[in-house]
Amino acid sequence: MRNINISHYLKAHKYLITDIVFVLVCFFSLLVFKGGLLFHMEQYSLFVWDLEQFSVFMDQPGGFLALVGTFLTQFCHFPSLGALFIAFFLWLLAFLIRTAFRLGESRWLISFIPSIFLLLFICRLDYSVFILKTYGMLFSQILGLISAVSIIFIYRKWFESGNHQIIFILSSVFVFFPIIGIYAMIPAIFVALDKKDKKVVSFLAAVIICICAPLLCSFLPDIYQRINRKYVFMAGLPYMEFQDNIICMIPLFLAILTILIIPFTKKVSLRFSVLSLTVAVVLLATFTNWDPNFRAVLSMERAISCNDWNAVLSLAKQHQEPTRVQVLYRNIALFQKGRLTEDMFKYPDGSASLRTRAHIPISYVCAAPVLHYCGMVNSCDRLVMETSASFSKNIYFYKYQARNAMLRGEYELARKYITIVSRNWFQGKWVRRHLGLLDNPDAMKTDGEFSLLLALMRHDAGKYDAVEPLESMLLRNFSNPEYVNEQIYEWQMATLLTWKDSQKPIFCFFNRANLFPGSHVTNGIAEAIALFASMTGDTGLMSNLVDILSSQKFILRKFGDFSNSMNMTRDPQSERAREQFKKPYGNTYWFYYFYNNISALL
């Protein structure tokens, strides 16, 4: 009896239960697998509520979608909240489709398909999220389709019975095209095809109207002064992102196509609906971007934003074949923990390429935090300014620009940047901390984070003219072997050892040893100097080294063992030898020197 009751309950509430399951699945999927992405999109966004910003958005047809999308993106500061909003809007779209198209029992599952494609659009996003020009993309396309289906709903509710379809098409396109862009065409097409008689006439009229509205917008002299005619038929779509990468827009097109096809599916069976939905889900699972390195990069970026260096290091340990971005983030975290050259070779190293369709230099991905935390504030500023001019301004960049300005003593400029950050929601903690330092700049000298940066800024790398890869910039900056202070020395050695420079580290090491006899030598440096000193064949040098490392003789002994093993190995560069050496020496500089490929640094 009880089983029959449950079964009866489920049948009676199948729509509600399916909706709840759909929302929960979307919510948890986004939260668990794309939480880092949501936070990133919020940081790479900027919402300023004033008339000027409003007019910038409304100066393009469909700009209203981006405006609302940008507003909602603020909630992604808390990925759970962002995921909830996205899940809700995806459900709302499905609900409206079901209602507007009056989908019966056999077709109601189809109502989820456009939402699944929109979810796929979000889940496919890759490193291109670092070079976005469009704001609000997480929400704007969902809102576009919701608006389109809402117009259809209004038509079905109040205008269907009359005989004024052409007027409805005309008014809805001309009214809504400026607001929601190309999405205003969907109801026009639907209304034209929904007409009982003279379908061809009404369809042709709809097509003509749909073509005229954008063309009028682009040709009339006094409206839309910033519209490019070439893209007017993509108004409201994120065409700026995918010009060379149109394949990434396919999920969007599929979502739109599904909605247009729905009116023609009146006779499909429940089985077909289930099959269609299954195919959509399989496509979602197959084409979602599951790249673990991408997830790690986003998670590390978020951890750095929160100054959670332990989290960064924990993530660094988990990925055995990291990208250079992860390696650089790891190094920043190690430096903050005071363990850069001590531990950097104990972590996985690598040069995995960024898995992305577009060619994206890593400087676009991580230059801001890397250069900033290396004390290269002018270089950080330059790259941030270039990137934000080319792509879009956002909270993330403004935060670094504010900090750079504070470090340079440009307090009015810093306040300008902090003010714009403060106008976005959920930035209060960051704003309060930095305004506090701005009101008392001397406090930066004793602040743990800023004092480190100020120490790094004592280094002057002069002038440079080239636009270089990021790690080349680090090398150029830290290649001067003169000793300035411990912080700069750490980065000098870390950079030189990364590039396998065997000369300058020797100079730096012995110079420091002379300046500060008896000072602590980190394991990484000791290992490297042992190797480089042996490569010179200079016995006097080796003897000096032994004296300096008198408390770390185990390193010299271990190096001796390593050298002997290498000498006895027939082909030390072979994969077999690599595996052989990995276990005993995998966490040493020697393994890094002989078995890591640094061509990717260039």
């Binding site: 002064q225 910033r226 519209i227 934000s388 080319s390 002057d460 002038k463 003219d465």
Partner: protein
């Protein structure tokens, strides 16, 4: 009904009653305003000088008086209605408008010492055109040439690159220049997508490609002859160095530069000055069109020659201001004459701007180099062309970079860009220049909401006066940008 009427009457009564600051005590602290509009000279046709009272207050009122009229404005965000303001300007022309600021603090009204603005008789040109651009280095995004009506807050785009690029492709637009304050005769360069120099004369526009032969570059800095269809251009091979430490973030320098003259009617170009040992740049015509001013640096003066890597000696390169006579009938140039020997004072002078009345010359001066917008030492100097004496315009200079400047057509107003606000984003300042050759305290270009200056993350670039707004619209100019290129001929 009765209680409603009583409430309404009370509300009306309260609204009409005096703000209550009569008998206010004198404030002991200094009044803080943004922008600082205290004791400035303003033209009789300027837009309202809206300002914010930054001094702490619970309530704030401002009494604005001019002639025999007084208006009470609510603060701390003081927004003067345009109609009232222009009436006030008309009343106070030749005299002063005074502002009395009253603040309520801890239940006590305080009054600050009033400040005044002098309304000078001379008007300012109606429009100012400028470019808005990020203070970046090489990359750019959305760029716009914008015209601002100086008597109101209205702005309109003259042209913007979104029309052509849609932010997908890239198009740089720069170096806008008008002929003799005429808004319908102008030129600017478009680079990269649909690139070319856009030259617009009365009712007609063409797109020109100049690069030909051994020219070192496309034309860069322009100057229209005031009444002939001739444009003087510099050709510049420009490089940048990025500075790793300090507040000066970039160094821009020329490795080569020459001057050419372009005939708009015949589409022919010829050299004005072409000395491989000199860097000639920033040409500018005098108002009568008989003299061309320009800046020049002679390499041997700082131990350089053709083989020298100039990136190593940027801080030694110094420019002087020269002039050369020009016969508009024969189109021949005379012998160059030194106007301002900045190098002898260990300075570098560029961007000469002669006044329309022919009496004075403004230059941009710094410790070295040519791109002073990036130098905190960048200041504006004035040369009296009658006496030959040059001095810094201390009244308008600041510790930060002052750069591009422009005279109004009556030689009484100077518009210039300055980084004095935050060291990074240039803003436009206007200053009165009287008939005795004195500059007066500059003031920030009025905005409807002064806070816009803090919210705007672009720099104002190359402010140029025109006497009216242009009849050209962005879409009309877009047609020229999409049109076929005309190729200029280089005459040797």
């Amino acid at each position: 009904m009765k209680p409603f009427i009583i409430s309404l009457l009370v509300l009306i009564t309260v609204s009409c009653s005096s703000p209550g600051y009569q008998g206010a005590e004198k404030a002991t602290d200094q009044l803080e305003l943004y922008p600082d509009y205290a004791d400035i000279m303003i033209p009789c046709n300027i837009a309202p000088i809206n300002f914010d009272v930054l001094s702490v207050s619970d309530r704030c009122y401002v009494e604005m008086s001019g002639g025999d009229k007084t208006f009470i404005l609510r603060g701390p965000k003081v927004r003067i209605p345009e109609r009232i303001w222009h009436k006030m300007l008309a009343e106070a022309k030749g005299s002063r408008i005074s502002f009395k600021v009253f603040v309520k603090r801890e239940d006590k009204w305080l009054q600050y010492d009033p400040f005044t603005c002098t309304v000078v008789q001379e008007s300012i040109d109606s429009y100012l055109t400028y470019r808005l651009i990020e203070p970046g280095y090489s990359n750019y995004g959305y760029l716009v040439l914008r015209q601002r009506d100086l008597s109101s807050f209205k702005e309109r785009d003259l042209y913007n690159n979104a029309l052509v690029s849609g932010r997908v492709e890239q198009q740089c637009i720069n170096c806008h220049s008008f002929q003799n304050y005429n808004p319908d005769v102008f030129q600017f360069h478009a680079r990269h997508t649909d690139g070319g120099t856009i030259i617009v004369t009365e009712g007609k526009g063409t797109k020109i490609e100049f690069m030909t032969g051994d020219m070192i570059s496309n034309p860069v800095y322009p100057s229209w002859h005031p009444h002939e269809n001739l444009i003087a251009y510099s050709l510049n091979s420009t490089s940048q160095l990025f500075v790793a430490k300090g507040n000066q973030k970039v160094e821009v320098y020329d490795t080569k530069s020459d001057l050419v003259l372009y005939d708009v009617d015949t589409e022919e170009t010829r050299y004005i000055v072409r000395d491989s040992l000199s860097l000639e740049t920033f040409p500018y015509w005098s108002a009568d069109g008989k003299t061309l001013f320009y800046a020049s640096a002679y390499l041997p003066d700082f131990g350089a020659d053709l083989s020298t890597d100039l990136s190593m000696i940027t801080e030694k390169i110094r420019y002087n201001i020269w002039s050369v006579g020009f016969n508009p009938q024969t189109k021949e140039f005379g012998t160059p004459t030194l106007v301002f020997d900045a190098e002898s004072d260990s300075l570098s002078a560029v961007t000469p701007r002669p006044s329309p009345d022919g009496r004075y010359l403004l230059s941009g001066v710094g410790r070295y180099g040519s791109f002073h917008v990036w130098h905190e030492s960048g200041d504006i100097y004035l040369t009296d062309l009658e006496t030959g004496v040059t001095h810094p315009l201390n009244e308008i200079n600041s510790p930060r970079a002052e750069s591009f400047k422009s005279w109004s057509s009556n030689s009484r107003w100077i518009a210039f860009t300055s980084r004095r606000d935050d060291g990074s984003y240039t803003r436009i300042y206007l200053a009165y220049f009287d008939a005795e050759g004195n500059a007066h305290k500059p003031f920030l270009l009025p905005q409807r909401d002064p806070d816009q200056n803090h919210r705007l993350f672009k720099s104002y670039n190359v402010p140029e006066f025109t006497t009216d707004k242009s009849s050209w619209t962005p879409k009309r100019i877009e047609m020229i940008v999409h049109s076929d290129l005309h190729h200029a001929t280089l005459i040797k």
